[in-house]
Amino acid sequence: MTTQPVKFYQTGTFTVGNRLLDESQRSVQANMERTNSLNSGHRACQGCGEALGARYAIDAAMRAAGNQLVAANATGCLEVFSTPYPETSWQVPWIHSLFGNAAAVASGIAAANRVKGRKGVQVIAQGGDGGTTDIGFGCLSGMFERNDDVLYICYDNEAYMNTGVQRSSATPPAARTATTPAVGKRPGNVAGTGKNLPLIAMAHGIPYVATASVANLHDLEAKVTRAMGISGARYIHIHVPCPLGWGSAPADTIKVARMAVESGLFPLIEAEHGEVVDRAKIRHRVPVDEYLKLQRRFAHLFRPERDTERLAMIQAVADRNIARFGLM
C-alpha cells in the first residue's frame, strides 16, 4: 500500500489553533504575539460577539498590514465599551467621530495618507449594523462609489444594541426588539422588510465584498487578509451575536453564530467586482429551529404554540440562501 499524504489534523482548521498544523496555517488568534488590538478591560457585556469579532478582524488586519493600520469607528456599542474616558482598549490608532460617518472619516484618512505619501498605511472603518446599514449608509455608499481605499467592516448584531435593542434595517423577520415587540397578532419584526447590505455593496461593483462570522475564525481571517491585499473600497459584513439583545446565553455566542451559518440563514460568501466568487460550504446543516431556539428574541415562534407559518417562512429564507449561493 502506497502511503497517502495525511490531510486530517484532528480538528483541521476549525479550531483557533492546532499544534499539528504548520505555523503558517494557524490563525492569527492562535499566535502568542497577536496584537490584541482590542485589549482587555473593555466594558462589553459578557460574551459579546462584537468585541470578539472586532479583535478577530483588527488583529488579522494588523498582521496583514504589518501593523500599519488606522481605524475609524462609528458610534455604537463597540465605541462606547472600548473608549470611555479615561481608558481606551484600542492598541491601534483609532478615531471615533459620529454615528453615521465612519466611512467618510476613513475616506478622509485615506486621502490624507495618499497626499502625505504614507504608502502602506491602511485604513479600516468599522461600525455596527445601525451605523452601517441605516444612519451611515449614505457615507458608506459614497465611499464605495468613489472606490476609496478603505476596508469597511460591519459588525452585524441585527439591532441597535447600544440604545437598548431597537430594530434596524438588519433586524431579521420575527425578531423581537424594543421597537418590534413580541405582542399582537404577528409579534416581532415585520417580514419582508430590511436590507441586505453585502448585496448592496456588491451592486456598487467594488473590488471585494465578503460576509464572515465569529463562528468561523479561519474564514474570517482569510477574508480580512484577502481584503487587506486589495486596494479600493472593500466591505466585510461580520455576524456577531449579542447575548443581551438576542436573549442568548453569553456562553453560546459562537454557537448561535455557528447555527446561523449552518442553517443557511447567514451565508458566508465572497464577491469580487459584484460577482460571487466563493462561498463557505455548510458542514453540518441544521434546521433554522436550532438557531432560533437559542434566542429569546424568537421565543414567540415556539410559545405558546409553534408558529408554523413563520417558521416555514424563515426556513424558506435559509433554503433560498442555500440554493442561491450553493452552500451545500
Binding site: T15, A30, H42
Partner: protein, 541 residues
C-alpha cells in the same frame, strides 16, 4: 504629541479596568477521564498515547502505552476493545480504531527493537509468579519495573498461557507473542517452564520468595454429559487448541461439530476449517443474538464458511452421527426443548463449554478462600493469605486477556506496596468526559480507517493472520481521529474565543491559564472547548 484632554487617550489604557470583578462564575481547566481510558480493563492511558501518536511520535506513544500494558502488539490483536465501544467518536461517526493503532505501535516496537528500561534500582525483594499467561507476564513486567526480582513458574512447555493455547495463530501470530514475551524476559525476569507448582507455600519457602502472584489460568475443559458410543470421537476445545501448539495436531476429520457459543467455539471451528475440514458446524442452544462470542468473530466465521445451528442441543453422539434437538426460547429468553429431533453427520464433536481452574496447588493454604471454583481476592488482589495474590482467570472476573493484563498490573502495584509494608492507593479517578461535554463541531469529519483483511481463500486454508495492521499513514490518520475527550490538546480555542483576552497562552506543551483579572465569566471558552477540558465553577462571594 500634546494630546487634547479627555477626548484623546493613550492606547491600551483600559488594562486599568479590572473586569474580573464582574464574574459570578469562573472557568477552570480540568482533566476529565476519557471514556476509552475508563473502559480499558488494562487501565491503559489510551488518550495519552494517542496524543503522541497524533504528532507521529510513535516511540513516545509506545512508551506511554507500556506504562500500563507491556504487550501492545498482542493486545492490539486480541483485545475485544471495550475502549472502542465507549469511544465518544462513535456518536459522531465511528469510534477511533484504538486497537489498530495499538497494534501498529506494538508492531513498530518489535520491528524497531524497542526495549523496556531496566529498573532504576533493585529492591532486594523476590516475588514468585505462578503461570506465564497474560496476567503473570503483566505482573512480572510491572514488578520488575519496580525493581523486584521476579521468577515465573510455568507448568506448560511454553509461555503465553491462554494467549498461546486459547487463541489461534491466525489471530495472534506466534512470532508477535514471542517477541513481546521475550522483551519482558529481557528485563531480567526468570521463567521456568514445565515447572508445575504443586504446593504454593512450599515453593515460596523453597525459593525464598517474599510474595507470590498466582495466575494459573483456567485450563480444565468443562464437560457436558452426552450419551455416546465407544467409537464416538469427542474432544474438548482446550485440548484441540493446545494441540495446535504442539507436535500432535488434533485429528478432527472432514466434518466437525463444535458445541458451544463462546469465542472459543468459534476459534475451534475456524481452526478445524484451516486443518482441512470440509464442514465445521457450530451447534448452539440459543440464538445468534444471545451468543457470548463477539459479533465480528461470528461475522468472520460466516465469511469463512462456518455453519451454525442455532437453538439446538446435542442429545446423543454416535460414531459419525449426532442426534440433536431443536430448542425454542421461552418468555424469559431461556431455551426449552421441543422434542423435535434430527441427525447430523460428523466425524468428531468438540466441546467448547468453558474452562475450570486447576486449584490443586492451593490445598491447605491457610486463610485462602475458594468460591465457585475460583479464588477470592480483596480489592488489592490479595487472597485471604497474606502475601499471596491472585489474578487472571482464576479469580472472579471476566476472562479476557486484557482483564488478565490489568490484574497483573494491579496485583504488581499492590504487591509492591505490600512488600514495602504499605497499602497501594490508586490515584483518584477524574470525572468522566461524556459526549455532552464536548463540542464536536470542531473535529474534522473522518470515518475510521479500515484494516486490510486476508482474502477468504487463504483464510480458509492457512493460519496466516486474518486481520492486517495499519500502515504508518493510516495509523497516524486513525490516531488523529481521537477527540482527546476531557483533556486539553492545545487547540487554542479558549485563547482565541475569549472576548476579553483573558486567557494566557503559556506556550507549546504548557497549556493555558485564565487571567482572572479580566475574565468576565461569560463561559464561551467552556462552550467552545472541543474536548470538554474547562468547567465553570461558582465564585465564592
Amino acid at each position: 504629541m500634546r494630546k487634547p484632554f479627555a477626548i484623546t487617550l493613550d492606547v491600551g489604557s483600559s488594562l486599568a479596568n479590572r473586569t474580573g470583578t464582574w464574574r459570578t462564575e469562573r472557568p477552570v481547566y480540568l482533566d476529565r477521564l476519557p471514556p476509552c481510558n475508563h473502559a480499558c480493563p488494562a487501565g491503559e492511558n489510551i488518550q495519552g498515547w494517542l496524543y503522541h501518536a497524533e504528532s507521529g511520535d510513535y516511540r513516545r506513544a509506545w512508551e506511554e502505552l507500556v506504562q500500563n500494558n507491556p504487550m501492545p502488539a498482542v493486545m492490539g490483536r486480541v483485545c475485544y476493545h471495550p475502549c472502542e465501544s465507549a469511544c465518544n467518536r462513535g456518536q459522531l461517526d465511528q469510534p477511533v480504531s484504538i486497537h489498530a493503532v495499538e497494534r501498529f505501535l506494538g508492531d513498530e516496537a518489535i520491528r524497531r527493537g524497542w526495549a523496556f528500561p531496566q529498573p532504576a534500582s533493585e529492591s532486594g525483594k523476590r516475588v514468585l509468579i505462578v503461570g506465564a499467561g497474560p496476567s503473570g507476564l503483566s505482573a512480572a513486567y510491572h514488578l520488575r519495573r519496580l525493581g523486584h526480582a521476579v521468577t515465573i513458574h510455568e507448568a506448560g512447555p511454553m509461555t503465553g498461557g491462554m494467549m498461546r493455547f486459547g487463541i489461534p495463530k491466525y489471530r495472534l501470530p506466534r512470532d508477535v507473542l514471542h517477541a513481546e514475551v521475550q522483551r519482558i524476559v529481557d528485563m531480567g525476569v526468570t521463567i521456568k517452564l514445565n515447572a508445575k507448582v504443586d504446593n504454593i507455600l512450599d515453593t515460596m519457602r523453597a525459593g525464598g520468595f517474599d510474595a507470590a502472584f498466582l495466575a494459573v489460568g483456567a485450563h480444565l475443559a468443562k464437560r457436558a454429559y452426552i450419551p455416546a458410543g465407544s467409537a464416538s470421537r469427542i474432544l474438548d476445545a482446550v485440548s484441540v487448541l493446545r494441540g495446535m501448539e504442539t507436535a500432535e495436531r488434533p485429528q478432527l476429520g472432514r466434518r466437525v461439530v463444535v458445541y458451544g457459543g463462546g469465542n472459543t467455539a468459534l476459534d475451534v471451528a475456524r481452526t478445524a476449517k484451516r486443518l482441512g475440514a470440509e464442514e465445521a458446524i457450530i451447534v448452539y442452544r440459543r440464538t445468534r443474538e444471545k451468543m457470548p462470542a463477539h459479533d465480528f468473530e461470528v461475522q468472520e466465521a460466516l465469511e469463512e464458511g462456518i455453519l451454525f445451528k442455532w437453538l439446538t442441543t446435542i442429545k446423543q453422539a454416535g460414531e459419525t452421527t449426532f442426534t440433536v434437538e431443536k430448542m425454542e426460547l421461552d418468555e424469559t429468553g431461556f431455551p426449552q426443548p421441543t422434542g423435535e429431533l434430527e441427525t447430523i453427520e460428523a466425524d468428531s464433536l468438540v466441546l467448547a463449554l468453558g474452562q475450570d481452574v486447576d486449584l490443586s496447588l492451593l490445598d491447605r493454604v491457610p486463610g485462602l478462600v475458594i468460591e465457585d471454583g475460583v479464588v477470592k481476592v480483596d480489592a488489592n488482589m490479595m487472597t485471604g493469605h497474606a502475601g499471596l495474590f491472585a489474578g487472571g482467570d482464576m479469580v472472579p472476573s471476566e476472562r479476557t486477556v486484557t482483564v488478565a493484563v490489568g490484574h497483573g498490573k494491579k496485583a504488581a502495584r499492590n504487591i509492591d506496596a505490600w512488600l514495602r509494608g504499605a497499602r497501594y492507593a490508586p490515584a483518584p479517578k477524574h470525572e468522566l468526559a461524556s459526549f455532552e461535554l464536548l463540542n464536536p463541531w470542531y473535529y474534522t469529519d473522518a470515518p475510521k480507517s479500515v484494516q486490510p483483511m486476508l482474502d477468504i481463500l487463504r483464510r480458509q486454508s492457512t493460519f496466516e493472520e486474518v486481520t492486517g495492521g495499519l500502515d504508518e499513514g493510516n495509523a497516524l490518520f486513525e490516531a488523529r481521529r481521537c477527540l482527546s475527550c476531557g483533556n486539553c490538546f492545545e487547540c487554542d480555542n479558549c485563547y482565541g474565543v475569549c472576548p476579553d483576552n483573558a486567557v494566557i497562552k503559556l506556550g507549546p506543551g504548557q497549556r493555558f491559564e485564565f487571567n482572572y483579572e479580566y475574565c468576565k465569566g461569560c463561559g464561551i471558552c467552556v462552550s467552545e472547548c472541543p474536548c470538554g477540558a474547562i468547567r465553570m465553577e461558582p465564585e465564592t462571594i
